[in-house]
Symmetry: C2
Subunit: 392 residues, 2 copies
Amino acid sequence: MFNAKMMRLGEERSAIRELFEYGNRRKREIGEENVFDFSIGNPSVPAPACVGEEIGRLLAEVPPETLHGYTSAAGLYEARRAVADYLREKFGAPMSPDLIYMTCGAAASLAVVLGAALQRGDEVIVIAPFFPEYRVFIEAAGGVCVPVPAGERFHLDLGAIGRAVTERTRAIIVNSPNNPTGAVYGREEIAALSRLLEEKSRGKDPILLIADEPYRELVYGREVPFIPNFYGDTVVCYSFSKSLSLAGERIGYIAVSPRCSGAEDLFSAVCGAGRGFGFVCAPALFQRVVMRCLGQSSDVEEYRKNRDLLFGALTEYGYACSEPEGAFYLFVKSPEPDAKAFSERAKKYELLLVPSDSFGTEGYVRVSYCVPKKTIERSLPAFGRLMEEYRR
Amino acid sequence: MFNAKMMRLGEERSAIRELFEYGNRRKREIGEENVFDFSIGNPSVPAPACVGEEIGRLLAEVPPETLHGYTSAAGLYEARRAVADYLREKFGAPMSPDLIYMTCGAAASLAVVLGAALQRGDEVIVIAPFFPEYRVFIEAAGGVCVPVPAGERFHLDLGAIGRAVTERTRAIIVNSPNNPTGAVYGREEIAALSRLLEEKSRGKDPILLIADEPYRELVYGREVPFIPNFYGDTVVCYSFSKSLSLAGERIGYIAVSPRCSGAEDLFSAVCGAGRGFGFVCAPALFQRVVMRCLGQSSDVEEYRKNRDLLFGALTEYGYACSEPEGAFYLFVKSPEPDAKAFSERAKKYELLLVPSDSFGTEGYVRVSYCVPKKTIERSLPAFGRLMEEYRR
């Protein structure tokens, strides 16, 4: 009677959300401090001070009917200019305010770009493990999700990517710093990917590189190369959810590189998809807030401390995982082949770990360490006892 | 190369936005006070005091990582409960928090409900003149927009609606108080519509009534009947854009009536469509603000004064229009058959009036009187001189 695809999408709770809701129930049963919820990527470090300060200043200085009124569909021009100026200054890239589109966060950025770029049956390459909603947005846009396994230490496997390209390949999604592995792709890696995509695009419409970058600033001493400086046909999908700890406020942007073939056409299609999906404009107050907080970020050192503590202890206990270079996830090899069984066993110790199956890779769990340090400290004995089960 | 439908949608600026952008250019040329911009429905009356107060209180009392963090996809449970309680108390309707879905405003509410309810080729009846984005959202969901002309004084023409129903009719969108006519449908009218839809639904999947109600509180001494009390298969699409003057903040809700056939299935499909379009959750800060401001509204008296001033003067000058019962639009008959030509002629007097063609009705202009009273006062001589052109 209703749309069957949408019903299915609404009923199949994501594995992450499922575990998160289980955790909330469990906390009510045995007390919040006794559940070690590593399920969800909700920033635990508060927004930097500028966020609250700018909200206060805006409320005091801008009349409410202006402050909370509609903006242009693509966003306030001053916000778009501020983003373009920031990217130009920071990365020396020729970004233009006329190709910046303010969005309701990273999910909206991705859904809109895919809706704009894809025609029915177009293929989009994603690197497994990958954020599960990629498949949802690709399929909602009528496309086909083509997972390609990551290579060593979850970095790019260029050979595998090259083999996955077909006549129907329209785009590739690159997510660095990576959710769920914490990998950060280096300059040479991005340069090599760019050469591969250029070669594969010869004589046809160029393959679009969609750079999904919500974790750009959450990096531990590593450089995150700015991909539009390497590959012309790039669209950056950015979100302030993690960098400014504003995950619930739904604010981000799409930046179409002026070097994209048909950049203006793509931007028109972005505006069209935003309109068709019902976005109208990105939240007005937070457009004004983020344009004043560009270049600021929540305290990454807090996440680094969490990473060091958790990574150190888990490897000591015998868990296998590579050290995250960015983001706030640890991707841990399951001590038994079936990650779902391992995740279930972990629940006995009140440890909530997301099995990797829904990320398109088997045999791992994702541990989101964007939690209070105390939670990690209190959880360590549980991780220890859990591993002992496999040693007996 | 990109999605042609989305490109077209992005390129064809809506007539409203086109005129609005023209007005902004013109204001830069001749000064803001000399352009009489009646193009857009951006509330001119400030948000009620509770909005600013609650933002301040929330910033002071809730830790930022909680305040700005993700909520559940359907919204904070306490916000959903507050909405359901409010609707239950105010209208005596059996609404349930489990069937309330917080959205990014009315456009999102409509796009998501249509995406959830429609299958390819399903027909949706709209009453002409109608908000032009209805067609965009219906077609984005794979449906067919079926306009039915309004009857006397722009109220419902039940005969015409009955004749428009076919085997493929899936839904009807009802918008009262109405944009662009200001009509408010009364109890008997809604009851008669309900009887018609019940009769037409016999032996098939019931026709869904989508009640688009952003103007519910903006009414001049008229009752706005709560449609779920009349017709079981109703979904209310609400927005706080106009009632709390928060148009840019993108906050509203979908309320599926528990009396809907398959209410839970429809709610699942709503969750799925929200997920597929990339909504994640409605803006978190404003979910908390609106749940504390339910039942409040911007000062409707300001809009009433504008209506009385404008309606009185225009009818005196010889314009034909019916008196708006709600919302903040005056729908004025064009003194020449071609409303676009009239709108062009009005520009000579710096009057920006939206021709009705894009609303699916010819021969009228929409005058949005959500502007400062001073703008109306200063514009009246221009309206007078414009009419004189037709008297010569």
